[in-house]
C-alpha cells in the first residue's frame, strides 16, 4: 500500500521539487557578491555531481556487490546495476557539462587540468567502459559476473574524485558547503535551495532509474515471448 503510493507519487514529487529548485534558484535567491548570477549554478552543479558520484554510482556498486554475494545473487541485481550505471553515465556527462559552463566564466577555460575535473572525466570513461564490457559479452551469466567485478573496481575511483581537491589542492572548489570543522559557509535561503536541489535531483535519479528498469523488464518480457517462439522453432528443427 505504502509502496504503491510512494511509487505513484515519485514522479509528481520529483517534478514539484525540481520546479521548486528552479524557482528558488532563479528568482528567490540573491545573486552572489563575486560571481553574480553565475552563482545560481550552485543549485544545479553540486546536486548533479552528488547524484552522479554517490547516488547512482553507489547504487550500481551496491547492486553489483549484492550480485556477487552468493546469497543475494540474482539477475535482478545485475539489471539494477546496469540501469544505474546507464543513468550514471548521463549524470556524469551533466556534471562535466554544467561544470564546464561554470568554468568558462570563472576560470576562463572550458577545461582545466584539475584533479577533480580529470578524475570525474575518468569516472565517465569507467561508465562507458562498463557499458562496452556489457556489449562485448553474450552470455547473461558471464556478463553479469564480469560487469559486477568491473563496477566494484571502478567504485574505488569515487573516493579519489572526492578527495582529489584536498590531495592536489587545485582549481576546483574545495568543500564549500560543509567545511572540515562542520561550519556552514552558505546561509539562509541559499542553503535551503541547495538542500532542496539535492533532494530533487536524487529523486530524479530514482525516477529515471525506475523508468529505465521498467523498460528493461518490458524488454525482458518481450525477449521471453520471442524465447517461446525460438524454442518452438528450435524443437521443430528435429522433425522433417
Amino acid at each position: 500500500m505504502i509502496k504503491q503510493l510512494s511509487q505513484r507519487l515519485l514522479g509528481p514529487v520529483t517534478l514539484l521539487l525540481l520546479a521548486l529548485t528552479f524557482w528558488l534558484g532563479l528568482w528567490v535567491t540573491p545573486p552572489d557578491k563575486v560571481q553574480g548570477n553565475l552563482a545560481r549554478l550552485l543549485y544545479l552543479h553540486p546536486a548533479v555531481a552528488w547524484v552522479a558520484l554517490y547516488v547512482s554510482f553507489g547504487t550500481a556498486t551496491i547492486a553489483s556487490a549484492l550480485y556477487l554475494w552468493k546469497r543475494s545473487r540474482s539477475l535482478v541485481m545485475d539489471r539494477v546495476a546496469h540501469c544505474a550505471m546507464e543513468v550514471s553515465t548521463v549524470f556524469i556527462l551533466l556534471t562535466l557539462i554544467t561544470g564546464s559552463i561554470w568554468g568558462r566564466p570563472t576560470w576562463g577555460v572550458w577545461w582545466a587540468w584539475d584533479a577533480r575535473l580529470t578524475s570525474t572525466a575518468i569516472l565517465g570513461v569507467f561508465t562507458v567502459a562498463y557499458l562496452a564490457l556489457r556489449r562485448a559479452n553474450d552470455d547473461a551469466e558471464l556478463r553479469a559476473r564480469r560487469s559486477a567485478v568491473f563496477a566494484i573496481i571502478a567504485a574505488i575511483n569515487v573516493p579519489i574524485v572526492h578527495f582529489s581537491v584536498d590531495w592536489w589542492k587545485t582549481l576546483h572548489q574545495g568543500a564549500t558547503v560543509f567545511t572540515q570543522d562542520g561550519n556552514l559557509l552558505v546561509h539562509g535561503i541559499m542553503l535551503w535551495t541547495l538542500f532542496i536541489s539535492l533532494v530533487a535531483f536524487t529523486l530524479l535519479f530514482f525516477w529515471l532509474l525506475r523508468a529505465r528498469y521498467r523498460l528493461d523488464v518490458l524488454r525482458g518480457e518481450r525477449d521471453q515471448a520471442s524465447l517461446e517462439e525460438a524454442l518452438v522453432q528450435r524443437r521443430r528443427e528435429g522433425v522433417h
Binding site: 587540468w113 575518468i122 562496452a132 556489449r135 587545485t170
Partner: protein, 219 residues
C-alpha cells in the same frame, strides 16, 4: 582493382559496424588516452596548448595501432586465409580496400578527438579547423602504411606485439609531419610544407602497397 577495393572495404566496414568495436572500445580508449597524456605531463605544464598537436598525434597513433590490429584480426584464422587466397582477389585491390576502410575509421575517430583537443587541450577552434586537411591526409597515410605493416606483421596471426615494434619507426615521420603542420595551423608557420610531406608519404605508401601487397600476402 577498384571493384575489389570496394568489395573489401565494404566487408571490413560491415564487420566493424556490426561489432561496434570502434564506437564502444576504440573511441573511449582515444578519449581516455588524451586525458591520460594530458595528465602525465602534470600540472608543471599547465599551458599544455603547445604540446597539444603532439599529444593529438600520439593518441592517434595508438588508436591506429589498435585499429590496424583489428583490421588484420578480422581476416580470420589461417584456414580462412587459405580459402580467401583461393578466391584469387587482386592484391592491389585488397590493399586499397583495407586501407580505405581503415582510413574511414581513422577519420571518424580523428574528427572526434579533434573536438576533444579543442575542449580539453584548448587548441583554438579556427586553427584546428584549418588543420583539418592536413589531418585528413596524415591519417590517410597512417592508414595506408598501417595496412602494409599489418600484413607484414603476419596478418593478425603472429603475436599482437609485433605490429607496434614494426610500425612505430615508420609512423614517426608521419607523426612529426602531422604535428608540425597542426602546430603551424595553430601557432603559425610553414603549414604547406609539412602538409606536402604528409601527402607525399600518402602517395608513396599507396604506391608501395599497390605494387607490393601481393608479395606480402601469406604464402
Amino acid at each position: 582493382m577498384i571493384r575489389v577495393a570496394w568489395l573489401v572495404a565494404a566487408k571490413d566496414l560491415r564487420i566493424e559496424r556490426r561489432s561496434r568495436v570502434l564506437l564502444w572500445q576504440v573511441l573511449p580508449f582515444g578519449v581516455m588516452a588524451l586525458l591520460l597524456s594530458g595528465l602525465a605531463l602534470g600540472a608543471a605544464h599547465a599551458g599544455h596548448s603547445n604540446a597539444a598537436p603532439g599529444l593529438y598525434y600520439l593518441v592517434m597513433v595508438l588508436v591506429a595501432l589498435l585499429m590496424i590490429n583489428r583490421s588484420q584480426v578480422i581476416e580470420g584464422s589461417p584456414g580462412t586465409r587459405a580459402s580467401v587466397a583461393t578466391l584469387g582477389l587482386d592484391p592491389a585491390g585488397v590493399f586499397l580496400g583495407k586501407a580505405l576502410a581503415l582510413a574511414v575509421e581513422l577519420w571518424l575517430t580523428g574528427v572526434v578527438l579533434l573536438a576533444g583537443a579543442v575542449l580539453v587541450l584548448h587548441t583554438a577552434l579556427g586553427g584546428t579547423l584549418s588543420a583539418l586537411p592536413s589531418v585528413v591526409v596524415t591519417l590517410g597515410a597512417l592508414a595506408a602504411a598501417g595496412t602494409l605493416y599489418g600484413a607484414l606483421s603476419g596478418g593478425g596471426q603472429g603475436p599482437a606485439t609485433l605490429l607496434p615494434v614494426l610500425s612505430l619507426p615508420a609512423f614517426a615521420p608521419l607523426l612529426i609531419a602531422g604535428e608540425r603542420s597542426f602546430s603551424a595551423a595553430l601557432y603559425g608557420g610553414a603549414l604547406l610544407q609539412w602538409w606536402v610531406i604528409s601527402l607525399v608519404a600518402l602517395v608513396a605508401y599507396l604506391a608501395i602497397g599497390i605494387l607490393l601487397y601481393g608479395v606480402l600476402e601469406e604464402s
